[in-house]
Symmetry: C2
Subunit: 197 residues, 2 copies
């Protein structure tokens, strides 16, 4: 639109940098903020600036934090003998919400994906080996996703850590809580049968 305010066009372009936001969504978001929520626009503007300049990676577990070492790693209540490896901070957040894990984490910030050029070094395998062989960690729980890439990543981590005397386990595969067998996929049922207890 030749008539558009140029800063509105710039905003629409910038909103398209968000994942999953195309030109129509970006327009809708921009118009919504301008018409109904300018406070929200200012709030989001500040939050983006703050996060982009202050969020960094924890020196120990690699998750997002504002301090050199994150609060989980600093928590003396945590069991330092257990180290849970996850792909992303979102996965870590999901595990934390269960309230059933009291160990520490290592966040890969990705998964092995040769097709996308993501190799061992990109997912911080050398750092993970160093972290897992600090003499305190006894068990590494690999909680990467149950996708092809997540499984490959888990496999590589296991192969790297087991020869170094670290016990490596994997999250259990099985039927999700609350689901009916009839609607669960066959691979999951087969795994649940194999891993029955």
């Amino acid at each position: 639109m030749a008539s558009a305010a140029s800063s509105l066009d710039a905003l629409i372009d910038a909103l398209r940098r968000l994942p999953g936001v195309g030109v129509k969504s970006a327009q809708r978001m921009a118009y919504h903020l301008m018409q109904h929520d300018r406070d929200g626009a200012m709030l989001l503007s500040r939050a983006l600036g703050e996060a982009a300049s202050h969020v960094r990676h924890c020196e120990r577990c690699n998750t997002y934090t504002e301090a050199p070492v994150c609060s989980v790693c600093l928590d003396p209540q945590r069991d330092a003998r257990l180290l849970c490896v996850v792909e992303t901070p979102a996965d870590q957040a999901a595990l934390e919400r269960t309230g059933s894990f009291r160990g520490l984490y290592f966040v890969l910030m990705g998964k092995l994906s040769p097709l996308d050029g993501v190799g061992l070094r990109d997912i911080g395998l050398p750092r993970l080996i160093e972290r897992a062989t600090d003499g305190v960690v006894e068990e590494v729980i690999v909680a990467t996703n149950f996708t092809a890439e997540g499984e490959a990543t888990a496999h590589v981590i296991g192969d790297a850590l087991r020869p170094r005397g670290v016990r490596v386990t994997r999250l259990a595969r099985g039927v999700p809580v609350g689901s009916e067998l009839e609607y669960v996929d066959l691979g999951t049922i087969a795994h649940a049968l194999m891993d029955r207890r």
Copy 2:
């Protein structure tokens, strides 16, 4: 996640102010920006700040602009005898992209919606009447959407302007270009039959 950087949490909360963005999408957006596109985060931050503080409504047509009067209203090439009424700047943009309208616009910034408490004054009907009876405008083309609310809005605008001697027309309803009759809804076909030419 108790361990989360607080500015990351603040960012996730702020992203949820965007329409259509829930907590999962907000997380995904925040993590994406932090991990892959900090430049994009800074860019979006600046764009939001700029737009929220500079974008305002055109004094003549009510669309978004940074100047007191928008560039369309200032364009001497435009035919001031034709005034097209649309619901939103996005609708105006769609009409502009067709390149087939050379008149001026009036943007309602909404539609009549009694259930949501949006009345005649909220959609700027008094301003539209003043604008349409300036002695220059000869025809008002009502291009509100063909929804229940858009039709009601069009009806009210027609009732308000016709007694004042303004010619009021409506966008043609009919079969969309490129569509097959078999798949067009019956109401549209009925209107296309009625308005045949």
